[in-house]
């Protein structure tokens, strides 16, 4: 996994509440066996019209925010399906950090597996960042994971919380599976005693 380094970018404002995973990437683009290349379908039905032309009103189609690495979002971002295609599409587009109040659990979890940092903030802090984001060009926001600080364009710092284990994995680009494999001994002993307690769950 790609390491998370400090990101400085304009913030693209997406104030709508409940932006669901079908909005992030509609189901018809899930017919792929690859992880890469989904950025071109990110927010497809908001970003493009039915003929595939860019919709000029959509924030990421406006010059100030095109290619933004930071999104500032409304409540309950990422609700809906478990599709990891949503964080894949965001990461492929170049998004590295998403600043909101709360995120749907599965989306939140999936994001960390893909070098993407979703940050849960009090509504007042998110609202300030939303105002910054709406100013567009020259209003650059910095997200520093190591020090758990967001710096606003005027220099004000906003601290944020993040789970220490997730922070460690993201900063070092660690692969969960490799780490769990190192605990194979614990898994073996769990299975050995479970096989006695619940033998019907194991093939003979």
């Amino acid at each position: 996994m790609r390491k998370f380094e400090t990101v400085t970018s304009v913030g693209a404002p997406l104030p709508q509440i409940n932006i669901d995973t079908d909005k992030i990437i509609p189901a018809r683009f899930l017919r792929t066996i690859e992880r890469e290349g989904l950025g071109r379908h990110l927010f497809n039905d908001m970003r493009f019209d039915s003929e595939g032309n860019e919709t000029p009103d959509f924030v990421l189609n406006q010059p100030a925010w095109r290619g933004a690495s930071i999104l500032v979002v409304g409540d309950n971002f990422g609700c809906g399906s478990s599709r990891e295609h949503a964080p894949w599409a965001l990461a492929d587009y170049g998004v590295r950090a998403i600043l909101g109040t709360d995120f749907a659990d599965i989306f939140y979890n999936n994001s960390f597996k893909n070098g993407l940092l979703p940050i849960k903030l009090p509504a007042a802090d998110r609202d300030k960042l939303m105002e910054d984001a709406e100013r567009g060009e020259n209003a650059r926001i910095t997200v520093d994971l190591e020090n758990q600080v967001i710096t606003r364009p005027d220099g004000e710092e906003i601290a944020f919380e993040v789970d220490p284990f997730r922070k460690h994995c993201l900063l070092n680009g660690l692969d969960d599976i490799g780490m769990t494999m190192e605990r194979a001994g614990s898994i073996d002993s769990f299975e050995a005693s479970d096989r006695i307690a619940r033998p019907w769950l194991y093939a003979e």
């Binding site: 079908d22 478990s82 599709r83 898994i187």
Partner: protein, 470 residues
């Protein structure tokens, strides 16, 4: 005496492999269901790292999302090339990694959340995962069941575990009996309407109370299925004689002495008296009515007798804007009675409502009536076994004589990954689980309802109160 524990607390404790200092847990996964859309990159990851599947005997695979449902269509190849490649990739992966698979032509093929319970794979007290958010369905058996992303699918295939943190406990208690005409679908829509689409975030919801205990397993699966639409990680219902009765004799259920031993273990699972929940919501069953959604979030649910809300009545600016956006997308007007909304399409099926009881409910309304001329109505059974049973009961004949199309099993128009979809601007009454913008096809408009209400809408040509049918 130990502290009283909830059903969730007990399942969690039983599956703890180990806990790190910071509270991150490694939990054991008993059952893993795999489908063609969210697994190809996981198998590719295993292959790249030279890893195998740790417990093929705890895993089953099936293709459901992309499968055509037009009668006869699955005999040939799948027309859409990307869909075909996904299904063929799954077929190659299950052979390479030794995972049990129900092929498309097998009568046991169907939607992954229908066939897990049907085959007896889903059992009380187990942990069940799948790369699909509606894995919450299996919570109906008192199993801790939740959707995961593809990275986690790969993690489970390789290690049979997941790195997790415990959830909070929420109780949703429905005392009393459901009024006539109300079903499990109306109940869960009412719950989501009450607590909102983020109301359950970070929680596992345990559903309790008489109205829940009175439900069949099919109804309980409908309720737990849509827990994710309330933002919950999972839904749970305590196992009881209804659960055991459903499971007994199913192919993967324990047999003989193992059955008795299993039931003894399962009977210790329900929450202890005095167990504490972080959040409690109580809704009297008598407040439930036949529900429909009017907007583009499952929380936009109202009794069929209500009208489209007026944004002007809403104080919160974000919410007001969201309601206005939904009304515009849905092509409705504030104050419009829900019963006046004309529909083009009816979809009866999905992991929410594609089980035998759902087909029976639709057929009961369809019997002796006709689908309105302006309406296209699809019935898509959730599995080959549901289809076979419905045909044995003559339900397919009742439905086709009334003008419904009788399809082959699959996810179909729930998410429009195959060729069953709404055209832009088309409006459906659908028994599925999500009314998001574009969910049933770009520009499509979805109203979520129960199977009986969907059939009533098909007959009326508009959203209708099934209690008003002649």
């Amino acid at each position: 005496m130990s502290e009283p524990r909830t059903l969730f607390d007990k399942i969690w404790a039983n599956h703890l492999v180990d806990t790190q200092e910071d509270g991150t847990c490694l939990i054991y996964i008993d059952r893993h269901l795999v489908h063609e859309v969210t697994s190809p990159q996981a198998f590719a990851g295993l292959r790249a790292a030279g890893r195998g599947v740790r417990r093929p005997d705890a895993t089953i695979a099936v293709a459901d999302h992309n499968i055509p449902t037009r009668p006869g269509a699955r005999a040939g190849t799948i027309e859409n090339e990307e869909s075909r490649i996904q299904v063929e990739t799954l077929e190659r992966n299950v052979v390479e990694f030794g995972v049990p698979y129900y092929p498309i032509e097998d009568v046991r093929q169907g939607i992954v959340h229908i066939i897990g319970p049907e085959q007896g794979m889903t059992q009380p007290g187990t942990t069940v995962v799948c790369g699909d958010s509606h894995t919450s369905t299996h919570g109906a058996f008192g199993a801790l069941a939740f959707g995961i992303g593809t990275s986690e699918v790969e993690h489970v295939l390789a290690t049979q575990t997941l790195i997790q943190r415990p959830a909070h406990n929420m109780q949703v208690d429905i005392e009393g009996a459901l009024p006539p005409g109300c079903t499990a679908k109306d109940l869960i829509l009412a719950i989501i309407g009450r607590i909102g689409t983020a109301g359950g975030t970070g929680h596992v919801i345990e559903y309790t109370g008489q109205a829940i205990r009175d439900l069949s397993m099919e109804g309980r699966m409908t309720v737990c299925n849509m827990s994710i639409e309330a933002g919950a990680r999972a839904g749970l219902i305590a196992p009881d004689d209804t659960t055991f009765g459903y499971l007994k004799g199913r192919p993967h259920a324990p047999k003989g002495a193992a059955w008795d031993a299993a039931v003894a273990v399962w009977k210790r699972l329900p929450s202890d008296p005095g167990a504490v929940y972080d959040t409690v919501v109580r809704i009297p069953a008598e407040e439930i009515a036949p529900y429909v959604t009017w907007g583009t979030s499952p929380q936009d649910a109202l009794p069929i007798t209500a009208s489209v809300p007026d944004p002007a009545d809403i104080d919160d600016p974000d919410r007001r804007q969201a309601v206005q956006r939904s009304i515009d997308y849905m092509g409705l007007r504030a104050g419009q009675p829900l019963r006046e909304i004309a529909i083009d399409t009816v979809f009866i099926g999905s992991c929410t409502n594609g089980r035998i009881e759902d087909i029976r409910a639709a057929a009961a309304v369809a019997q002796g009536r006709r689908v309105a001329d302006s309406v296209r109505a699809l019935v898509v059974p959730g599995s080959g076994l549901v289809k076979a049973q419905a045909e044995e009961e003559g339900l397919d004949r009742i439905l086709t004589e009334a003008g419904f199309e009788w399809r082959d099993p699959g996810c179909s128009m729930c998410l429009a990954m195959n060729d069953d979809r709404l055209a832009p601007g088309e409006r459906s009454a659908s028994t599925s689980n999500r009314n998001f913008e574009g969910r049933q096809g770009p520009g499509g408009r979805t109203h979520l309802v129960s199977p009986a209400m969907a059939a009533a809408a098909a007959v009326a040509g508009r959203l209708a109160d099934l209690r008003d049918l002649d």
